[in-house]
């Protein structure tokens, strides 16, 4: 196959992806606007993904807060500015690492599960059965997962922020003898409420990415069990790439002026 031909094929596939994704988002928004929401299912999804992700989110953010503290405390004490460590840890946690690490963990855990579940429903004709009964798979499956993620990911991010700051505080004290009071004072000086809100806004956008990519990969599954495996992998890969890219863009837009 010629290079041009392959390029053409890739372009068409990409445009198809965009088109499919756009109509999925469009239909979800329409469902939301018309308040066609299955609350019970949304609640179950939110509960499961929240409880299921909590421990791993807490652990990753705890260690991340600790390592930032470790690295910055070492440097800061050398230069005699140990009192700034609290600010450094809180600043990076709330604005960048909290939302992003939480999203990456949830993409790996929940995005993949969504793609696998919906994908296997495709190959066992359950999606066709829904359509055949006049039920929209988007309303039935996508919207509850979207809402569940949109609620739980910001919430998980709040926990992640807190635990990572606590971890940082502990290491700062144990390792560089920076007392918690000065750690907190520095944190409050470096980070405002506005930063927290912006971080949560990121989490909300990441939630949409994970939900839409997971559902879309699931719904476009082709070809049996192997197809489900491919859908699952690509759901994780695509959402993680999109999360990193979007994180940069959002940081630029939200914090770029500072």
């Amino acid at each position: 196959m010629g290079i041009l031909e392959r390029f053409g094929e890739r372009t068409i596939a990409f445009l198809e992806y965009l088109g499919g994704m756009t109509s999925l988002i469009g239909e979800s928004v329409r469902s939301l606007v018309h308040a066609q929401i299955r609350y019970a299912e949304t609640f179950v999804q939110a509960y499961e993904l929240g409880i299921g992700s909590l421990l791993i989110v807490l652990l990753t953010s705890l260690f991340t807060g600790m390592v930032i503290s470790l690295e910055s405390a070492q440097q800061a004490v050398q230069f005699g500015i140990g009192s700034l460590v609290g600010g450094a840890v809180t600043y990076t946690s709330v604005r960048e690492l909290g939302p992003m690490l939480t999203a990456v963990v949830v993409a790996g855990r929940v995005g993949s599960a969504i793609a696998a579940e919906i994908g296997s429903m495709v190959v066992t004709e359950q999606i066709d059965a829904l359509r055949s009964m006049g039920l929209s798979p988007v309303r039935f499956l996508v919207v509850p997962r979207l809402l569940a993620l949109a609620i739980m990911l910001p919430l998980l991010t709040v926990f992640a922020d807190i635990i990572s700051i606590l971890g940082g505080m502990w290491i700062a004290q144990a390792y560089a003898h920076i007392n918690p009071a000065s750690f907190i004072a520095s944190a409050r000086q470096a980070v405002g409420f506005e930063d927290v809100v912006k971080g949560l806004l990121k989490a909300l956008v990441f939630a949409c990415i994970i939900a839409f990519v997971g559902c879309y990969q699931g719904l476009s599954t082709r070809g049996g069990a192997a197809g489900v495996g491919r859908a699952t992998t690509s759901a994780v890969v695509i959402s993680i790439i999109l999360i990193f890219g979007t994180n940069f863009i959002m940081s630029y837009l939200l914090f770029g002026g500072h």
Binding site: M121, T124, E125, Q126, D128, A129, L130, R131, S132, M133, G134, L135, S136
Partner: protein, 252 residues
């Protein structure tokens, strides 16, 4: 009196990539009658039902159900039509996150305002009619293939649709349940005047219930007519199919 047509395929061609499944295929489904479709495995029988349910679109030609052209109709506009039709899938296709009772009651819960007890009652009746009353609270993965198939059947008839498409409703079932299902299909037609399309390999039950029989071969309907006409047909393809002979025009 000329029978009225409820649904039809009009010069339908359908291919998956290079592979042509249906070629200039036309078929009329008479209102209020049971039409059985027979044909070799892989001939495209399930595909015809998927076309009639609007799940797939033909590459060319038209599919009509109750006067509506299903082709190029957006999914949203099919919703209303789909409440009047239902498809009993070949492999049941129950939602595996719901219990059997919830599965069977799903179309009622979503499309009607009936109270829960009433739905429970209708679902129990539907399950009873396929001999499955005791599995209301079981999950699909706890049932055998034949039980799933019967539950799928119950889900398809629970709303009393005008058109029911049955994809091999009796394949793989024991003779007693086979009769039960066949009788249920006939009873629904008699009581409610509904239209049915049944795919089956079971000649015995076909000739018990069919009003019309259509035979699909190499992508087109090669024989169609009232039951007796097909039973006594001299068409060599039909003859060979009905006798199950290895010699004849159908290559083995």
């Amino acid at each position: 009196m000329e029978p009225t047509i409820y649904a039809s395929l009009d010069d339908v061609t359908l291919s998956f990539g290079e592979h042509v499944i249906l070629k200039n295929c036309s078929l009329k489904i008479v209102r209020g009658a049971i039409t059985c479709i027979v044909g070799l495995s892989g001939a495209g029988k399930s595909t015809i039902l998927r076309l009639l349910d609007g799940l797939i679109e033909p590459s060319s030609g038209h599919v009509y159900v109750d006067g509506h052209d299903l082709c190029h109709t957006p999914e949203r506009d099919l919703v209303e039509l789909r409440q009047k039709t239902s498809l009993a899938f070949q492999f049941a296709a129950l939602l595996d996150s719901l219990t059997i009772g919830e599965n069977v009651g799903l179309p009622l819960r979503e499309h009607t305002a009936l109270p829960d007890e009433k739905i429970r009652h209708i679902v129990d009746d539907a399950l009873e009619s396929v001999g499955l009353r005791h599995v209301y609270d079981s999950l699909p993965n706890e049932l055998s293939g034949g039980m799933l198939k019967r539950a799928g059947f119950a889900r398809a008839i629970v709303t009393r649709p005008e058109l029911v498409l049955y994809d091999e409703p009796t394949t793989g079932l024991d003779p007693i349940v086979t009769n039960l299902i066949t009788d249920t299909i006939v009873r629904l037609r008699e009581k409610l005047g509904g239209t049915a399309v049944v795919i089956s390999h079971d000649l015995h039950s076909i000739f018990r219930m069919a009003d019309y029989v259509a035979m699909l071969f190499e992508g087109a309907i090669i024989a169609y007519g009232p039951r007796e006409e097909i039973r006594t047909s001299t068409n060599p393809f039909v003859q060979q199919f009905l006798t199950g002979s290895e010699v004849g025009p159908i290559p083995v």
